[in-house]
């Protein structure tokens, strides 16, 4: 019960962040893929850096252990991502932004959007046995994180990632690493 209240509060904060970042709009999403608006990339990379900087030191100190991370199976992760990108660029949303946008009162997200995700979920669940076991058995590394896989110091890797992200932000904002709208 308590866990549900936590999930609700965290979900609200997540939806609020998506709304304030403007990601519940078609234009924001598709313009990321047109490389004329880097909001999605900045938003995601910032969140990644903040979380890993917050959590990895605690893990290194032995104070926490991570929940099960999404499994790595090279072909499936990549192929799934490739199909996902097509859908995301065409429709201009993803599961999370659709639900948050639905809350804003967007009827096209509430009705065809959410029904589409539900239909996709039914379709996937019914064909799971045909699709998932074969694709996930190729190059499967399990529920692994990079520092463990590569056997490198986690805090070093986090630092490198954070510096790379900051460099990317600098290149976008100060060096014009972004296309101009035609």
């Amino acid at each position: 019960m308590n866990e549900y209240i936590i999930a609700l509060v965290l979900g609200v904060a997540f939806g609020f962040a998506l709304n304030k970042a403007g990601l519940t709009k078609y234009t924001k999403i598709v313009n990321q893929f047109r490389l004329v608006d880097m909001t999605v990339l900045k938003f995601m990379m910032t969140a990644l850096v903040v979380t890993m900087v917050g959590l990895y030191p605690l893990r290194e100190l032995g104070l926490i252990s991570f929940p099960t991370v999404p499994a790595t199976y090279l072909v499936g992760n990549l192929v799934g991502g490739l199909i996902f990108g097509v859908g995301m660029a065409l429709a201009g949303f993803c599961p999370g932004t659709c639900v948050a946008g639905a809350g804003e009162g967007k009827l096209d997200y509430i009705v065809p959007g959410m029904l589409g995700f539900l239909a996709g979920a039914i379709l996937y669940g019914l064909t799971y046995q045909l699709v998932f076991p074969p694709i996930s058995s190729i190059a499967n590394f399990g529920n692994v994180v990079l520092p463990d896989l590569w056997n490198v110091n986690a805090l070093l890797l986090v630092t490198v990632f954070a510096v790379m992200a900051l460099l990317l932000f600098y290149m976008i904002d100060r060096m014009g690493l972004q296309r101009k709208v035609k």
Binding site: E3, Y4, I6, A7, L8, L10, G11, V12, G15, F16, A17, A21, V30, F33, R34, K42, F43, M44, T46, V50, T51, M52, L55, P67, V69, P70, G76, G80, G81, L82, I83, F84, G85, M88, A89, L90, A91, F93, C94, P95, G96, G101, G103, E104, K106, D108, P112, G113, F117, L118, A119, A121, I122, Y124, G125, L126, Q129, I135, V145, P147
Partner: protein
């Protein structure tokens, strides 16, 4: 206080500010419930629930029994939260209202007919959810939740997503890309 109210009323924040908020949410998700954020998974749990009500035998398979069990899970509650979070964000900026076809650029890309958008969003939803199933998560559950813990799966997914997303946008926009 005035500053805070002013920020809350803004329709759009800097992506860095919104990203920091999401990062904090990511930290709290792990610390408070030892779980990860996600969105596509919740739809699977609901699909199982709906399916088991309508056609119990067809939906009594490995997937809906064990992999993503039908029911009101943590992920489903997250979805409910996402919905109200979007609502809260829109309410604070005074943009909360029922609407459809509110995107100018969509009309330029696909035309102004609402039915086209409705079909595209429905089909898009199917494709996205199915792809998330194959990949092991969506933008939330895999790209963000996996990426923030440095899971290689997340970066493979993000690479695939950007590669095909850019090509797709190029095809849709053609000369206007």
């Amino acid at each position: 206080m005035d500053w805070l109210v002013k920020q809350l009323k803004k329709e759009e924040w800097s992506p860095y500010a919104a990203g920091v908020l999401l990062g904090i949410v990511g930290i709290l998700t792990v610390l408070l419930s030892n779980k990860l954020l996600g969105a596509s998974g919740g739809f699977e749990n609901i699909a199982g629930l709906v399916g088991k009500t309508v056609a119990p035998s067809a939906f009594s398979n490995t997937y809906f029994n064990f992999v993503m069990p039908a029911g009101i899970s943590y992920s489903v509650v997250l979805l409910v939260g996402l919905f109200f979070g979007g609502m809260l964000g829109a309410w604070t900026s005074g943009t909360l209202k029922f609407r459809t076809m509110d995107d100018q650029q969509w009309k330029q890309a696909y035309g102004a007919q609402p039915w086209k958008r409705w079909i595209m969003l429905f089909l898009g939803g199917i494709v996205l959810e199915y792809a998330a199933g194959i990949a092991g998560g969506c933008t939330s559950g895999l790209a963000i939740s996996g990426g923030m813990l440095l899971a290689p799966s997340a970066f493979l997914f993000i690479a695939g997503m950007f590669a095909s997303g850019i090509v797709t946008a190029l095809l849709v926009y053609g000369k206007r890309y």
